[in-house]
């Protein structure tokens, strides 16, 4: 399985951006030091049975409510959206890590620095801009990425809760990991194979209609069906080290949520990869996914991916890709967890099959609600390829501001 790792020499390019990295880290630390109340660390345990009736200590949100009905409000908390007028929320996150494996040299870097600007006018209109510095090393066993980019830039109009229209560049609604910033939101330092190999594009440039419907089961309308239908052009995809992803795309995501913690979904995606050489092809992908919390402290999650190409396009590009993982997370305390994930990838060639198996164990904790710390080990095994098995370990710290 050609899972796209480069030899990762210490290139001149890395040296050129080191000063910028240092500046970004300094800025991130400065911003973290003044974390906004929305992410501020607050006690989670029960307080005494007395309820604070501190009339003298008026609510920060209530204050905003009364005074934010006109003009353009800018701030770093959701409070800015309390009025009906134009408002922009500014926020972001950053993470840094030490990562190493037993076949190449270690990496100590700021991996991400993201800033977002969420502008809304009332309940219906929204403009969202996110810019990102990304510096993901290759020691995880996937292709390294170093770039500044506009991560998302879209406008949205909500007709109702059941129907909204989004136009611009947005994260691809495909499964669980792809649409989110997994580096700060998910449990592990390394991503699942389907995300690391970018078998589907990270973003779409196009249009989407999306919404939620509520299904009546029994006497309660207690089941939620959310949907997304979109079309556009895939971007920045280097699936299995193959360049060229430009071309029309179309996709759909359906997600059925039974409880807040339990869901199943299916994502469908078709990408025309318009290329001038023999690799011109159409790819059709499907992802089945689900989350289940059988007991309060245990969360189980799985994503099963399959991609079919319309024709065989050379010895290095197979007809089918099968990737999947199952993971479980046990919460020891509200701020400490242990996670295990088994991942599998199979790039089925003509008469051969390149396989990758990963076992990922992560210990995570949150010293504050604005901080994420992860320690991780991952064993990677390859079959049917000349890639060496390797062991990965790393420590990651993420902050929100």
């Amino acid at each position: 399985m050609s899972t796209g790792r480069q030899s990762c020499p210490r290139s001149a390019r890395r040296g050129a951006i080191s000063a910028r990295l240092a500046a970004l880290l300094a800025l991130a630390l400065m911003l973290a030091g003044t974390s906004v109340p929305a992410y501020a660390d607050e006690p989670v345990t029960d307080r005494p049975d007395t309820f604070p009736d501190s009339g003298s200590r008026s609510s920060r949100r209530a204050e905003t409510t009364e005074g934010a009905s006109s003009g353009w409000t800018v701030g770093r908390t959701p409070d800015v959206f309390s009025g009906d007028g134009l408002a922009t929320r500014v926020g972001g996150w950053a993470d840094a890590s030490y990562q190493d494996n037993d076949v190449e040299s270690e990496s100590v870097n700021v991996n991400h620095f993201n800033l977002f600007f969420d502008t809304r006018l009332g309940n219906r209109w929204q403009a969202f801009l996110e810019i990102e510095f990304e510096n993901e090393p290759g020691v995880r066993g996937f292709e390294e990425e170093r770039e500044y980019e506009i991560e998302q830039a879209y406008g949205r109009w909500n007709s109702s809760d059941a129907l909204g229209l989004r136009v611009g560049q947005f994260n691809t609604p495909f499964g669980i990991w792809t649409p989110v910033h997994w580096s700060i939101l998910m449990d592990t330092i390394t991503e699942p194979i389907h995300e690391g190999t970018r078998v589907t594009p990270e973003q779409q440039v196009g249009a989407e209609i999306a919404g939620r419907l509520f299904l009546r089961t029994g006497q309660e309308n207690d089941t939620e069906l959310s949907y997304s239908l979109y079309t556009g052009y895939g971007d920045h995809t280097e699936a299995f080290e193959r360049q060229g992803t430009d071309g029309p795309s179309i996709g759909a995501d359906l997600r059925l949520r039974m409880r807040e913690s339990d869901l199943v979904g299916i994502s469908l995606y078709q990408q025309r990869r318009e290329q001038e050489d023999a690799r011109d092809r159409t790819e059709r992908s499907v992802m089945l996914y689900g989350e289940w919390r059988p007991v309060e402290r245990l969360q189980l999650r799985t994503e099963i991916f399959r991609q079919l190409r319309d024709r065989h396009v050379g010895p290095g590009l197979s007809r089918r890709i099968n990737i999947g993982y199952v993971s479980g997370r046990w919460d020891f305390t509200p701020r400490t967890y242990l996670s295990y994930r088994y991942g599998y990838g199979d790039d089925e060639g003509e008469g051969s099959s390149d396989e990758r198996h990963t076992h990922t164990i992560t210990l995570g904790f949150r010293p504050t609600s604005a901080t994420r710390v992860k320690l991780e080990y991952a064993g990677n095994e390859f079959r049917g390829t000349d890639r060496r098995d390797f062991h990965f370990w790393g420590v990651s710290v993420g902050i929100l501001f």
């Binding site: 501190s54 609510s59 920060r60 209530a62 959701p78 809760d161 910033h181 309660e220 409880r259 309060e296």
Partner: protein
């Protein structure tokens, strides 16, 4: 003397263990809206959950402004657990994901019961919650307490099987 003391303490401990625990008092959480707001007299627990998760933004014919008590307070932990079916940390993760993706906006926080009563009473379209015991006699003219419907059964906070109650285990999952 030493053994007498040990035996005495053991007997006392056994007696203590055999004591029937005192019946705990119910501490229901009341869902409140402005008395001026013409809403149905009850709200489904599933609807309440969706409002507070930002999945729906309208109810009873108009946009809804949601209000939360401060994070970590016992009424808030109870509400999060029994209405949303989540822990405080899970809810924190949810709002973080929403913020980073331009999604739903969290409810506004108020610091205490006085502030909650004042804010909710001041405008139609606002919804909040507080312990039933924290309501005062003067609130009747300004606030209205909604009954909560679960599985086709509607219960008022004063009824025994009302679904949002601090006396129940805080880790209990929401039931809808």
């Amino acid at each position: 003397m030493h053994w007498r003391g040990v035996c005495g303490l053991t007997v006392l401990a056994l007696l203590g263990a055999l004591q029937t625990p005192a019946a705990s008092e119910r501490q229901p959480i009341a869902i409140v809206v402005s008395a001026e707001w013409e809403t149905p007299p009850e709200i489904q627990l599933a609807t309440l959950r969706r409002l507070y998760m930002g999945r729906i933004t309208r109810w009873a014919g108009q946009p809804v402004e949601r209000y939360d008590l401060a994070s970590g307070t016992r009424p808030r932990v109870t509400f999060t657990s029994q209405v949303m079916g989540l822990t405080e940390r899970e809810l924190e993760d949810y709002w973080l994901e929403q913020a980073l993706s331009g999604g739903a906006i969290p409810p506004r926080e108020v610091d205490g019961m006085v502030e909650m009563r004042r804010v909710i009473a001041s405008r139609a379209g606002r919804i909040g919650y507080l312990p039933l015991a924290a309501l005062e006699s003067g609130d009747a003219a300004r606030l209205r307490v909604l009954a909560v419907s679960v599985g086709g059964r509607t219960r008022h906070p004063r009824e025994a099987d009302y679904p949002i109650d601090m006396d129940r285990a805080s880790g209990a999952k929401g039931q809808d």
